[in-house]
Amino acid sequence: MATSAVSRSGRETRDSVVIRFAGDSGDGMQVTGSQFTLETALAGSDFSTFPDFPAEIRAPTGTTFGVSAFQIHFGGTDVMTPGDAVDVLVAMNPAALTVEVSDLKVGGTVIVDTAAFNERNLSKAGYAKNPLEDDSLARYQVLKFDITKLTADAVKPHGLSSREAHLCRNMWALGLLLWMYGHERTATVEWLNRKFAKKPVIAAANIAALNAGHAFGETAEMTEHMVGYVVPKATVQAGRYRTVSGTEGLAWGLVAGLRAAGIEKMVFAGYPITPASALLHTLANLRAYGVITFQAEDEIAASGAALGASYAGALGVTSSSGPGIALKTEMLGLAIATELPLIVIDSQRAGPSTGMPTKAEQSDLFQAVHGRNADAPLAVLAPASTADCFDIAIEAVRLATKYMTPVIVLSDGYLAHAAEPWRIPREADLPRFPVTYRTDPEGFHPFLRDAETLARPWVRPGTPQLEHRIGGLERDYDSGHISYDPDNHARMTKARADKIAGIANDIPLQHVSLGDDRGKLAVVGWGSTFGAIHQAVKIARDEGNDVAHIHVRYLSPFPRNLGELLKRYDRVLVPEMNNGQLVKLLRAEYLVDAEGFSKVTGKPFRVTDIVQRIRGGAPPPSEGSGLGGEAG
């Protein structure tokens, strides 16, 4: 908590706060976090969230690997990351405490449910002694409440079973935290009434628990350590806002792109995989917007069905995570060879192979840019934030249809689930780029190229007199017929490369997100690391360092001024959540002496990791930076 002052209301002021809710995966921590986020948004703060849940659906209760956590960072100014260190930890059981306490600031607050610290739970969490009864938590302010009993008392009039009453504990904790930060409960009450519309007793009990937690803070039962806080509102651009996750941003952006292109239907074909499935689920409810979703038998079929749909004139979209993208590789080759639009969303996760399905990484950049047989170029984009997911998805549709090419969008497991406030655009203000299907038989062949874009015509089967055959075999530049002619293959290879390279003339020039367009150090990032890099560069600049932040959203092709821009800095530092991939692309493309800075822990960069590196120090040891920090 950055600064402190006592307001007239008796509440202390905080510039920004980081709260982490942690408990068993069945304790409802994600719901608690989401509702706290909503109330925070409605209170006018800026925020960034980070849900961190286990791969196991329902791990055995009380175990450390079953701990599910939700972190929110909120405040008045420039909240761009979920926060490095935690101010307030809500630990619903000993396992949550032991897993999460190391991220708590010295002097930070822990709120625990004492009833959960029984012998059985302590032993499952690996505690030999109860940490609430020794001095092991002496560095923190520990607020011990029997949340189980307080919740049971609150819901008693509603006649719930003890199991049902136990499930209301998270609402009690939420009520207390809402009181601590002076937030309203209205939206949560509305949400509970909606969610349990068919079970009014459950709704009423949860609301009772919520209110009891809030009243607990308000009344004499407070301890000396427990005070209320005020967090200022953020000063942001005027407009209508909502919270948006990366998944929502991508789904809605695809729909917006579909409409901007004037295409009647989108066929979204996917196969269940963490953390990409949420996109399939979201789009499955958007039938009214021309979206047809198809759960295929495997990743290969998903990409095939999407490509078939594009061939037939719809917008074909497929989505997966790293291991699934690997299976789609062959179909991407066919899409490149037949020059059809195809959008591939990759929610990257830690690997190789199955890796860590719920943990984010940025390690599919090489796979996206180069991971195919033969010379097979395509366009690659990466959103910088959850809000940017919407714009990037629209841009993917524009490029795929204008250039008749597959486009890979590199999201990741963090962006997929994280949420931020988002200024809602109006459709009337969005770009429009209507596609034209070829209908004129005069002089037609399927690989005639547009002089400017080098794209071939898009012809819908069903169009009279344009019947033609396409496929994966090399084709003649001038007729589109199968050709094994050596010179023709060289010409076609070049045409495919030139087409993608030409996209560089149709995308914005690379701009500098923060700092000067020349100087001592440029910190160059891509994807979900935007917030951490931005904050770090800001801090370093405030300390007097000559440093700038450049964030690359177009990864293939790069913006055409990128090389020239990078050469204006003495040093280029590339923080990435991989073992050094963008850094190698930049070095190969521009012969710049860029330095890598890797973090491969499955967790996002902390601001301090990057600040220390800018200052010239090693990152703090507690988290490490992964191997290959000097990768070049």
Binding site: L38, A41, L42, G44, A187, V236, G239, R240, Y241, R242, T243, W252, V255, A256, R259, V267, A269, L286, R287, A288, Y289, G290, I292, F294, A296, E297, D298, I300, A301, A302, S303, G304, A305, L307, G308, A309, S310, Y311, A312, G313, A314, G316, M331, L334, I424, E427, R460, P461, G462, T463, P464, Q465, L466, E467, H468, R469, I470, G471, G472, I482
Partner: protein, 334 residues
């Protein structure tokens, strides 16, 4: 679907041929299949621009290049997936899938299973020559035990899959078998398959003159054919032999077929809606005759039809601004 009833001019079989030179080996059974498909197209009066031939990889997969319709030569085994996407995008298109025993039952076996199970309205034609031709003669998933090939110099020790039994097992609702050289029967079978709504699966025994010549001779040879083939026709007794002197019946007390004299009273009458009977017929091996014709036909709603039925209700609000403003929003005033 209405497309098949619309004819512009009456097209001849040659009007369905593209201007490309056909490049199969001289004497390949694929020529006869191409001819039969073009004749079936003409007889059905298919509209070329609404017809799409989709294939995977292999000798059979070159097929689309030789048709004057729309065509998509895709990747190995994946034609059913691509064809599914085409039907999802435009259910009005008349989509055919051409595949082989390696393409459809080995590398693409999974896709074949699911496209049949879903009952996507496709005409699926599987050319079975029991060998990999384009890669120069390796044994395939339909090759019989003992097949000697470059990759099985001591003879294959794998058990072959029966294409029709596989299709039935996958839940196909139209399963038929014919032979490249049986032109009239083949054309009639293709036309039946085309009129069927939902996935129709036709296995064609096809001779590979170069790598597996005469592999079906024991079924197709002039001398042996009458005894080695039984023609399944709905409502007619399952008789075979030069003078139709033999018949098939259920062996009493079992779930197996046996060969009896045609005069025996209880020769089975083919019922193409009877799935267990179709499974018995599909699996027949010597000394039984091979079953030809429509083994099974029992139509049900096709996948893409049901998809579009769900798309239609409830249509709901399609206002993008309403979508973006759904759930809680808040206003920040200047």
């Amino acid at each position: 679907m209405t497309v098949t009833t619309i004819t512009d001019a009456q097209l001849a079989p040659k009007d369905y041929a593209s201007d490309q030179e056909v490049r199969w080996c001289p004497g390949c059974g694929d020529y006869a299949i191409l001819k039969a498909v073009q004749k079936a197209c003409a007889d059905l009066g298919l509209v070329r621009e609404r017809t799409v031939f989709v294939s995977g990889i292999g000798c059979a997969a070159r097929f689309p290049y030789y048709m004057s319709t729309y065509g998509f030569h895709t990747v190995h085994g994946r034609a059913p997936a691509i064809a599914t996407g085409i039907k999802l995008a435009n259910p009005e298109l008349d989509v055919w899938v051409l595949t082989g025993d390696g393409d459809g039952l080995s590398i693409g076996g999974n896709h074949m299973l699911h496209v049949l199970r879903r009952n996507v309205d496709l005409n699926i034609i599987l050319f079975n020559n029991e060998i990999y031709g384009l890669t120069k003669g390796q044994y395939s998933p339909t090759s019989r035990r003992g097949t000697r090939s470059p990759s099985t110099p001591l003879g294959s020790i794998e058990n072959p899959v029966s294409a029709c039994a596989f299709a039935l097992g996958a839940g196909a609702r139209f399963v038929a078998r014919s032979i490249d050289t049986l032109q009239a029967h083949l054309i009639a079978t293709l036309k039946r398959a085309h009129t069927h709504r939902g996935a129709s699966f036709v296995e064609i025994l096809q001779n590979c003159v170069v790598f597996n010549d005469a592999v079906f001779e024991h079924i197709t040879g002039k001398e042996v054919a009458p005894d080695a083939q039984v023609l399944a026709e709905h409502g007619k007794p399952l008789l075979f032999g030069k003078n139709k002197e033999k018949g098939l019946r259920l062996k009493p007390g079992t779930l197996a077929l046996e060969i009896v004299a045609a005069t025996a009273g209880d020769v089975l009458v083919h019922d193409e809606t009877n799935r267990p009977l179709a499974q018995l017929l599909a699996a027949l091996e010597p000394p039984f005759p091979a079953a030809m014709g429509v083994l099974y036909c029992s139509p049900a709603a096709s996948y893409e039809r049901d998809v579009y039925a769900q798309q239609a209700v409830p249509k709901g609000n399609s206002d993008l601004d309403a979508l973006l403003n759904s759930e809680r929003t808040w206003e920040v005033v200047p």
